[in-house]
């Protein structure tokens, strides 16, 4: 339990800066925290997903009042295996390991695959396409390192009084977090 709590501790801007290169690709989220804090009252709370509780049920895609959802897949690169056969990117039994549509798991092809060095590949999320369905998250969780996870993106979220996804979430994964710490990230730090 302690581990779970640790994994999902809210990330402040200071934490982010301390972690530095560990979560370079996620620093965008960290920077947002300060910006949000300056625009909203200190006590303002916003909705967020605890990745340790998320069951990857698909409702983040279907229940949000926004279409597509304000929930997006986020990638903790520090945890990623940079696998050639990424189970978050490929369907369970791909014909070939290429970017052909029938081999991709994501229903909207929101994941980009880039060769880094034999045999390592980098996977990035195009948030403008992602619908927050969690399919890749489940593939990564089940076979990989769990580096893909879902977060409410606060550049999109309407911060509804009663989040309609939270109401339907079977994992009780939604909670209110301070606007100054709006993300619950999986990072090397939180995996400590």
């Amino acid at each position: 339990m302690a581990e779970q709590e640790n994994r999902s501790a809210p990330v402040t801007r200071r934490d982010f800066l301390r972690q530095g290169s560990r979560v370079a690709a996620l620093t965008g989220l960290g920077g947002v925290a300060g910006l949000l804090a300056s625009k909203l009252k200190a006590e303002t709370l916003v909705w967020q997903i605890d990745p340790a509780k998320c069951l990857r049920c698909g409702r983040c895609a279907t229940e949000c009042v926004l279409k597509p959802s304000a929930v997006k897949c986020v990638h903790a690169f520090a945890l990623c295996g940079y696998c050639e056969l990424c189970t978050g990117y490929f369907v369970p039994e791909p014909n070939e390991l290429n970017t052909a549509a029938e081999n991709q798991l994501c229903p909207v092809s929101a994941i980009k695959r880039r060769w880094i060095e034999d045999p390592y590949y980098e996977y990035t999320i195009d948030e403008t396409l992602c619908i927050g369905c969690g399919k890749c998250v489940e593939g990564c969780h089940r076979f990989g390192n769990g580096s893909l996870f879902l977060q409410v993106r606060h550049n999109l979220c309407l911060n509804c009084n009663e989040c309609s996804i939270a109401r339907a979430c079977p994992g009780d994964a939604f909670r209110r977090v301070p606007v100054s710490q709006p993300y619950l990230l999986k990072t090397s730090y939180s995996h400590g």
Partner: protein, 395 residues
């Protein structure tokens, strides 16, 4: 940037998925945080694979077109999405489906479970079987010595969590994250070997008559030791100039086994294969292919554990679709010891559920009769699997 930036929490939010500063893997590997070891810290993260690197690169531009189609398709996805009750999730239109691989064809199962008992220690990781047929289990901060029927014969307390264990005559060797210790059969510590340099994470041990081999997941190499603790060589290291990709380990699950005949067997999970090396470090042969189907190794990185049967066959362990299988000496699929239906909780756990990948999946050890002991790291159960043909006698 999405058009909806000016909503209630309106601000110019950078995209968290932008700008991964990774231009080459070496930079990535130099990042100490990425390869920091799971034990007490964090979770981290093929040459002749079935597919060449060029074929991968070839299709990149196709993505954009597919993405556009995907966007159009999104509307219809929402239209079909079910709105069941909070607990009823049977309608998930985005479900990740591997059910067809979760039930093993009974005709392929060559073993039957003779008995099952609970690991006496928490967080069991790997095990070995001694000449006396006792099980040496590494877990928590101790080595548990277990009689074949499951009762505990001895417990040896340790200062740190052991990752793996190997048993020889009169002594056993314990692999810690960064070093090896030698213990007498009575549990008295005899020697502490030098701490390894670099980024060590020892996850597999095997001992032959005059030498010991340690699988170091952190440094991605197998270390050949003399039995006095001196390092005699390093096997399987990445060598760009020689075109050696080395061990590809998205998670720290390197294992090593030997029959003491001058050949060592090492799993290479990221390349979905088992590799055979001479003790001098020459790659002699390899076998295995990526596939969720029963003949292959599933997911991104399997197998995660090996054991050797007395008749020359191999036992392999997988995670994700937790299953234990036997391959013949040529690397051809032979039979299933136990399929995913035997490890339901393990399958559900998933690597993403723990900060320590060495706490998911399975490990296996073999006794002199060819019975396979399977450790479920999630439930802590040890399944004693006997070949079907002789199952009656062994019970």
């Amino acid at each position: 940037m999405p058009a909806s930036d000016q909503q209630s929490t309106g601000h110019d939010s950078p995209n968290p998925n932008d700008g991964t500063p990774v231009e080459e893997m070496s930079a990535l590997q130099k990042n100490p945080e990425r390869s920091k070891l799971p034990s007490g810290s964090m979770a981290i993260g093929r040459g002749q694979t079935a597919f060449s690197r060029r074929r991968f690169i070839g299709g990149q531009c196709a993505v954009l077109g597919v993405a556009a189609l995907g966007n159009i398709a999104t509307g219809s996805i929402f239209a079909v999405a079910g709105r069941g009750t909070r607990s009823d999730n049977s309608e998930n239109p985005f479900a990740y489906r591997v059910d067809r691989f979760e039930q093993t064809d009974p005709k392929l199962i060559g073993y039957v479970e003779a008995r099952r008992f609970k690991s006496p220690c928490a967080e069991p990781r790997r095990m070995a079987i001694g000449g006396d047929e006792r099980i040496y289990l590494a877990g928590e901060k101790r080595i548990c010595v277990i009689r074949p029927k499951g009762s505990v014969a001895a417990e040896i307390g340790l200062a740190a969590p052991p990752q793996c264990v190997a048993v020889a005559n009169e002594v056993f060797y314990v692999g810690f994250k960064d070093h090896i210790e030698v213990y007498a059969a009575n549990g008295k510590r005899k020697a502490v070997w030098e701490t390894l340099e670099g980024n060590p994470y020892i996850t597999g041990l095997t001992v032959a008559e005059n030498e010991l081999f340690a699988a170091d997941s952190g440094n991605r190499v197998v270390i050949r030791y003399q039995l006095d603790g001196k390092i005699a060589g390093r096997i399987g290291a990445r060598d760009r100039e020689a075109g050696m990709v080395g061990f590809v380990l998205p998670s720290p699950n390197l294992d090593v086994e030997t029959r003491g005949d001058g050949v060592i067997y090492v799993n290479n999970p990221g390349r979905h294969r088992v590799e055979c090396y001479s003790v001098a470090g020459d790659l002699l042969k390899w076998w295995g292919k990526p596939s969720a189907a029963i003949e292959g190794f599933c997911g991104c990185c399997n197998p995660i554990g090996l054991a050797l049967l007395p008749d020359g066959r191999f036992v392999t362990c997988e995670k994700g679709l937790p299953r234990v299988k036997v391959y013949n000496a040529n690397g051809e699929f032979d039979c299933v010891v136990a399929g995913p239906e035997s490890f339901r909780e393990n399958a559900r756990a998933g690597a993403g559920s723990t900060s320590d990948p060495a706490r998911i999946g399975l490990d296996a050890a073999v006794d002199s009769k060819g019975n396979v002991y399977v450790l479920d790291r999630v439930t802590g159960n040890i399944h004693v699997m006997v070949p079907k043909a002789k199952s009656d006698g062994a019970r």
